[in-house]
Assembly symmetry: C2
Homo-oligomer: 333 residues x 2
């Protein structure tokens, strides 16, 4: 079942069939409808390979994410996939893990699949060392690269980011305004967004007239038990704090567990603010105030930007989306 069968049955040439397939306007309405009719009759579907060979595009976008089981990324994948499909594109997904080696390898694999663009979901794809991003900058000469919540300034690379800095800044400012003096900050990584968040925290303290104490800033594995343990041992060492802000909800869950373990009342004695407003932040008692980073909007914008790039439009290299603070039960201002 191929284009020849259709052309024969419809009494036209394969070129004409191909034209109606591709929406070419140079086909009379009569012929078009006749051909469509035959296609339906025969249940014809064009062969993607042959099509790809000719057009050298597969209408497929590669999506890379470091870990699809992270609720934040899982959501992002869902929305990206939905938006792409709504625009007539398929997605092929790669879960890369975090090793640079792997990320590169998967990236090449996507390229070899002749995807029309690559979307990197999550901030884990921008490396600290500039040279480690060279492969992206290089590849961006040949096809658009979209960063969801990551930023790299290079032609052909488009970023959609959440305004992490101001999200954390304002949340911290509100904590300070409500009288918190010793705000602990827990972060998972020094990625692009991680750096912004941390800076937001520092700026808020500075503007709020509070000292920036290194002993209140800690890195922690993205794992609730790790966060709980860390807090317990910090407290055991005598560190005092009346609020915890985290770069990820999972750490905030750990903070709630820490408070429960020590019988500390939330939010009276300890305020807690998570990040991403994921399902995790709703699981605990009390439920965790968190920052909604608008994943859906982020993804919609990313895809819209990509379509703009495909359409040859003039498209901004970076789009910033504002986050929302979601007040739940671990804060009281």
């Amino acid at each position: 079942m191929n284009i020849y069968d259709v052309s024969e049955r419809a009494g036209v040439s394969i070129a004409t069939v191909s034209r109606v397939l591709n929406g070419n306007p140079n086909v009379s309405e009569k012929t078009r409808s006749r051909v469509m009719e035959v296609m339906n009759e025969l249940g014809y579907t064009p062969n993607v390979f042959a099509r790809g060979l000719g057009l050298n595009t597969m209408r497929t976008i590669g999506i890379m994410c470091s870990d699809s089981s992270d609720p934040y990324l899982a959501n992002a994948i869902y929305y990206l996939e939905r938006e792409l499909r709504a625009n007539g594109y398929d997605s092929i997904l790669c879960c890369t893990g975090t090793s640079l080696e792997n990320k590169r390898q998967y990236f090449d694999l996507l390229l070899s699949k002749r995807v029309d663009a690559v979307i990197l979901a999550g901030s884990k794809f921008i490396e600290m060392e500039e040279k480690d991003n060279a492969y992206l900058i290089d590849a961006a000469r040949d096809l658009p690269i979209m960063l969801v919540n990551g930023f790299l300034d290079a032609p052909g690379i488009y970023s959609t980011v959440c305004d992490d800095h101001s999200a954390i800044y304002h949340a911290a400012a509100r904590l300070i305004a409500s009288g918190r003096k010793r705000i602990l900050y827990l972060y998972t990584s020094r990625s692009y967004s991680g750096t912004n968040k941390l800076q937001g925290y520092k700026d808020a303290l500075r503007d709020g007239g509070l000292p920036i104490r290194p002993e209140l800033i800690h890195q922690c594995a993205k794992d609730l038990h790790a966060a709980r343990s860390l807090l317990l041992s910090l407290a055991a060492e005598g560190l005092e704090f009346d609020a915890v802000m985290t770069s990820d909800d999972s750490l905030a869950v750990g903070a709630v567990k820490y408070a429960h373990a020590r019988n500390i009342s939330i939010p009276e004695e300890l305020a807690i603010i998570g990040y991403n407003n994921s399902m995790l932040s709703y699981c605990t008692d009390p439920e965790i105030s968190s920052i909604d980073t608008k994943v859906e909007e982020l993804c919609i914008t990313t895809v819209k930007t990509l379509m703009g790039v495909f359409g040859g439009g003039d498209v901004p290299g970076k789009t910033t989306i504002a986050a929302d603070f979601i007040q739940k039960q671990t804060t009281n201002f």
Copy 2:
């Protein structure tokens, strides 16, 4: 950059190049290594379209899941993707939602992409009405269909399922043995696995000498707040229960919240058992005893079976994997 460039540079014909590309044994070692060398030199990657056109396979598997943001499915996707890739296959992902209409449409889309097989992740793909599954049975004549945690008995359809019945059965039996008399059962859907779970619950009650009370069996949306509300209103109506079993962790989280709201002690006054042992079950305080359905093993087996099918081996239509009960803090036996 194509096969001709390589063949020219290596001083052989394109057929020979193609042969080394496909691991054809009829190539002398000397030629093979020479060609490989040239490929590396030129950084040659075969064009998937042309290849697909010739081979009529894309080495790509379609994965359908109803909702990638469900932690259980997100995990499944991760493992499936990993295993497929390890076997040299790519995956193209479709998040279908739950409407039959959509599922069918996405399925057709995958077929039109000429995927080599389709994996349906999750039990949401088998419909109650037999006729609604006809499209799967039909399609299975042309390509393998793999069900992860779903079952449909038809040629070309292969199922890997968790032994939900006995998982629930044994968990319930332990509750009963430890003296619980009124075990509430909350379920989300009457899918294949949903039905098995419910049956496991009923069988355990029966074998444990407990009556099966319809007022203790309730359907509930897969949402922790819905579960919490449902329990609160049931309790308000005077229903008594000393244990809650659920078909999904999210409902169990709701049960913990219910207990907190009413100041009921866990597990003394109320035992709770979740299902899937997902991250959610670790978020609450106390952490929820749950059933590990071995997603990873399920996925590994699915892919292994699929490779068996491709290899023409004799492959069982259904493989069952045993679940594990994970004792945490909401049970005390």
